[in-house]
Amino acid sequence: MSAMELSDARFESRLREFQPRRPRALPDARQVGAARRRLAAAAVVALSLAASAWFAVTPRPTPPPEATAKESASAESVSVRLTSFSLTHLAITSPEKLDGALNDASRRVLPDFRARDSALRVLAKE
C-alpha cells in the first residue's frame, strides 16, 4: 500500500467516525391515509358550516308578499298557458282562439302600458 493510499485509508476511517443522523420515524401508511380522509371530511364539514353561516348572516331583499304572490301566480299561469303543447293543441283544434291566447299571455308577460301608474304614463306626465 502506497503512502497516498495509506493516507486515504486513514482519512476514510476518520470520516467513518461520523455517521449520518437517524431520520425521523416513518409514519404508518394507514395512519397517513386515515389522516387524509379525516382532513377531507373536516374540510367538507367546515365548508358546509361556512356556507350555512353565510346564508344565515347575509341579508337578502324580501319583496312584498303581494308582489310575490302576484308574480308567482302570473308566472304559473303563463307557464301553464304558454307551453308548446298547449299552444300547438290550440292551433290545431281552434286556431281562432290562438291569437287571443297569445295576446292574453303577452299582457301578462310584457309591461302593461294601459295601467294607471304604468311607467309610460308617469314619464308622459313629466
Binding site: 493516507s7 486515504d8 482519512f11 476514510e12 476518520r14 470520516l15 467513518r16 467516525e17 461520523f18 455517521q19 449520518p20 443522523r21 437517524r22 431520520p23 425521523r24 416513518l26 409514519p27 404508518d28 401508511a29 397517513v32
Partner: protein, 165 residues
C-alpha cells in the same frame, strides 16, 4: 430475481438498517436534512402502501428510488431554498459527540460538486465499492474513481483546520 412486493415488516427493517445512509444519500441532492427526510419518507411510504413491486435487490432499488425522487423533488422546486432553522440541523453525528466537527463535515460536503459528493457519500457511509457506485450512478468506473479522489482531496483540505488528514 423477479419483482416482488415487500411486506411492511421488511420495509421497516430496511428503513431501520439503511435509513441513515439513505438520508445522507438523499441529502447529496436536496437543500437540507428535512428535505432529505421528506424524500426518504415518500419512497418508503410508497413501499408501505404495498402496490410497488421491487425489482432485484431491494437495497439497490431503494438507492435508485431515493436518487430519482430527490432529483425530481429538486427539479419541481420543492424546498429550493433552505429554511433557516432546519438548515442548521447537522446531517452527521460524531461517535464521540464532536458537534462542531460534525457541522464542519456537513459544510465541507455541501461545498463539493454534487457529482463528487454523491460518490463520496455512497463510498464512505453506504459502504459501496467504486464499482457499485459507478453502476448506481451510471458512469464508468474510472470516472467514479476520479470523482472520489477529487472529493477526498477537497474534504481533506477543508477539514484540515479541525485536524483531519
Amino acid at each position: 430475481m423477479p419483482p416482488r412486493t415487500l411486506t411492511a415488516d421488511e420495509v421497516r427493517q430496511l428503513y431501520d438498517r439503511h435509513g441513515r445512509a439513505l438520508l445522507a444519500y438523499a441529502c447529496s441532492f436536496v437543500v437540507d436534512v428535512a428535505a432529505g427526510e421528506d424524500v426518504l419518507h415518500q419512497v418508503f411510504l410508497q413501499l408501505l402502501k404495498g402496490n410497488t413491486a421491487v425489482p432485484g435487490v431491494p437495497l439497490a432499488y431503494l438507492y435508485r428510488a431515493v436518487r430519482n425522487r430527490a432529483l425530481n423533488s429538486r427539479r419541481d422546486g420543492q424546498r429550493a431554498v433552505a429554511l433557516d432553522g432546519l438548515s442548521q440541523v447537522p446531517l452527521f453525528e460524531h461517535r464521540d459527540g464532536k458537534k462542531e466537527e460534525a457541522i464542519a463535515l456537513h459544510a465541507a460536503l455541501s461545498e463539493l460538486p454534487e457529482e463528487q459528493r454523491e460518490i463520496v457519500v455512497l463510498r464512505i457511509w453506504s459502504g459501496m465499492t467504486l464499482e457499485e457506485t459507478a453502476d448506481l450512478v451510471g458512469i464508468p468506473l474510472n470516472t467514479a474513481a476520479s470523482r472520489y479522489r477529487y472529493a477526498l482531496e477537497k474534504l481533506r483540505e477543508r477539514l484540515k483546520p479541525l485536524g483531519e488528514g
